[in-house]
Symmetry: C2
Subunit: 163 residues, 2 copies
């Protein structure tokens, strides 16, 4: 059975996310926060939601209290990107720790009545972001814009130390 490191998927997601922030620069803020069909509603709220969910679960794994962020305070692409940068450095630090020892640990969080292992939660976060990015790609084509390329192969990743 093959084993892989989680970090590759997180680095992929972070790289693609940053490319979506660049992509956002071609649109007005009105278009970015406009309600759309499917997903969580708007392009910018999708990016905010991905970041919020990732950070909340990573804090949950660490037994830290949830930090509630409100979209009303992060309603421009610049603000959401700065939130992403801020949370990411903390997440990258955590992902450098020895997750093998943690992966069977059972975690409970205030926003979910069930408990999950750290391994399940990390899988969830990876799939969660990729899924929502797939939704952005459809909205992009509906706006007659080329979406960010989603391929995993052909990308170069920084070492996690760069984050």
């Amino acid at each position: 059975m093959g084993v892989i490191t989680f970090i590759n998927f997180f680095e992929y997601n972070w790289q693609v996310r940053d490319e979506w922030f660049d992509w956002c620069n071609q649109l007005s803020n009105e278009e970015l926060i406009k309600d759309r069909t499917g997903g969580v509603g708007s392009i910018l709220f999708t990016l905010f939601h991905i970041i919020d969910v990732e950070y909340s679960w990573i804090r949950g794994i660490q037994g830290k209290e949830d930090v509630v962020v409100e979209f009303a305070d992060y309603d421009t692409s610049e603000k959401v990107k700065s939130l992403s940068v801020r949370f990411r450095s903390e997440i990258a630090e955590f992902l450098k720790t020895n997750l093998i020892e943690l992966k069977e640990k059972v975690v409970g969080v205030p926003w979910d009545e069930d408990k999950y292992t750290v391994e399940e939660i990390l899988h969830h976060l990876i799939a969660h972001e990729i899924h929502h990015i797939g939704q952005l790609s459809v909205w992009s084509r509906e706006l007659e814009l080329t979406p960010v390329h989603a391929n995993f192969i052909g990308r170069k990743f920084k070492s996690s130390h760069s984050y």
Copy 2:
């Protein structure tokens, strides 16, 4: 650094894919093959494409010749599902082998001029399917239908031996 097994993500993708086949039953074949904005075009072609790409790369990793399948021969949900079942058993067998030994192996395939490691290709296949499923979820809402739930957490997976 955490390590995870690839099989969990493949099982997640296969379970979600099967739920999308069930979801397809509420639509006419005309709706399923109708061209839509974004992604690879239609709901059914998306599912066909995911299956084709997964199988082609897994055969490529094994050094086996590519099997070309034409969508014209698989233009109903039943036919695409049967293709998925057929290919999956072969893929599941391969994923049971010791991928740790293989992961650094460099693979070249006829449809891509670059070469990639087995590890990169397996990451690519996992992200590829999740991304396209995200696209289906938007089209589903545009059809005023509830999409298949995409959460990783809260799912029960069969052992890979069941496939």
